[in-house]
Structure formats: C-alpha cells, structure tokens
Amino acid sequence: MIPLSWYMALAIILFCIGVCGFLTRRNVIVMFLSIELMLNGVNLNLVALSHFLDSMRGQAFTFFIITVAAAEAAIGLGIAIALYRSRRSVHVDTINLLKG
C-alpha cells in the first residue's frame, strides 16, 4: 500500500514545476501548459485524498476541474490566436497595450 504522503509530495512537486514554468517562461502557450501542470497536481491531490477518505467527492471535483481546464485551454488559445493575428507574436512582453 502506498502512503498518502507520497501522493501529496508528488502533487506538490508537480504543482511547483508548474509554478516555475509559469514564472520563467514567456511563451503564452507554454504558460498555458504550465497551468495545466498545476491543475494536474491539484487533481492528483484530490483523487488521492478521495481514495484515502473513502469518498467520491474529490473525484467529482476532479471531473469539474478537467472541464474547466478544457474551457480555459479553448478560450486561452483562442485569445493567443487572435493576438497572434493582430500582433504577429505570442510573447507576453510585447502585449502591453493596456499598460498605458
């Protein structure tokens, strides 16, 4: 039997890899991928806890998180395409129109 703390440690490491990628990369698409990594870390935590707590609640939440991740990817990548069409670049530093 695998102890719960192993799963939680792995989830934390995965989440922090996502944070690191989000902070260090500037390509919008890789930043979205980093968000997916963070969401997966949270998913792993929820599923592990739902298994160890004999409950279905965590898995139901994981279901909704996957839905939201799909919606976020669709909207975010749609914005990336729209930005690329108008600016010909997907770097965050060149997108500063709202900065004033």
């Binding site: 039997m1 703390s5 934390i12």
Partner: protein
Amino acid sequence: MFLQLFFAYCALMIVASGLLAISLRNPVHCVLMVLVLFFHMAGLYLTLNAEFLAAVQIIVYAGAILVLYLFVLFLVSLREELHLNGFVPNAWLGRIIAAGLAVLLLAIIPAFILGEKGEWTVEAVRQVTHTKALGQELFTTYLLPFEIAGLILLVALIGGLVLARRDQAGSGDGVDPEPATIGKEVSQ
C-alpha cells in the same frame, strides 16, 4: 512491493517529463512531454482505484486538450518563439520562488491529518463499479455543478469560435466557418 515500484516509476517519469516540459525550447517538444506526463498520471489514477478518471485523463486531456495545443502551435509561427526571456525580472528568481514554495508545502505535509471517512469504501465501490459510483455522485449530489460545467463548456465553445474567427472586413456574425477547430475540440 510491485505497487511501490510502479508508483516510483510513474513519479520519476512525471517529475522528469514535467521538468523537461518547462525547460525545452521548442514548444512542440513541451507539448509532447506533457503528453507523456498525462499518460503516467493516468497510471497513478489506476493505483488509486479511479479507473474512470484514468480513462478521462487519457481521452480528454491527452486526446482533446493537447491536440488543441498542437493545433494552435501549428497555427502560430514557431520560429519567433525560440528566443525567450523570463517572466519575472530574473529567471532564477522564478525558480527560487517555485523551489521555496515546494519546500514550504513539503514541510507542511507531516502536519496533515485525515478527516472524517465517507461511505464509498473500496468494497462499496467495487460492488457497484467505479463509473456507476461516480455517476451516482455526479448526478445526485452534484447535479447543479454538473449543469453549470456543461454551460461553461458551451461558453468556451462559443468564445473559442468568436475569438479565433477571422475578421472578414468588418462583416458580422459568424458566417465564416473555417477556423472552427477550437470549438470542435471542446465539444469532444
């Protein structure tokens, strides 16, 4: 023993492919590394008796969301993205923040105490099968959130269509069905 070895293999592959995914220069390689990561994630879900979620992980995440990423990567130019700078002033600052967060959270784990147990023990789930148990929970306790999730997917579908639509010289409402890849992916 076999279970521990399987967990160790999956954990190793997840950490390695995750690190590669955020450090490789070519975004297509990043997406492929995340694909490897998702497959091992599904393996971990199997060790947690969550077969349905393992299947959903592969079908939805690896099959739909990552294909969507690849579509967009091929739509935008690759050559311009090879030169990158850090999001925070210094890339090392971001790494230190992430490492500090990891150390902080890992230090908190031993203080964690499991809460009250629910009624879905492994035997109870095995009796009605996992998919049925999850479906019962989703369609009774979480019926309203389920409907809202469907609405969110509809919003994402319409939003993706509108955002990715090519502007036909100021002409109006969604007559151009060509850039519809995003909507199709979501509806899967």
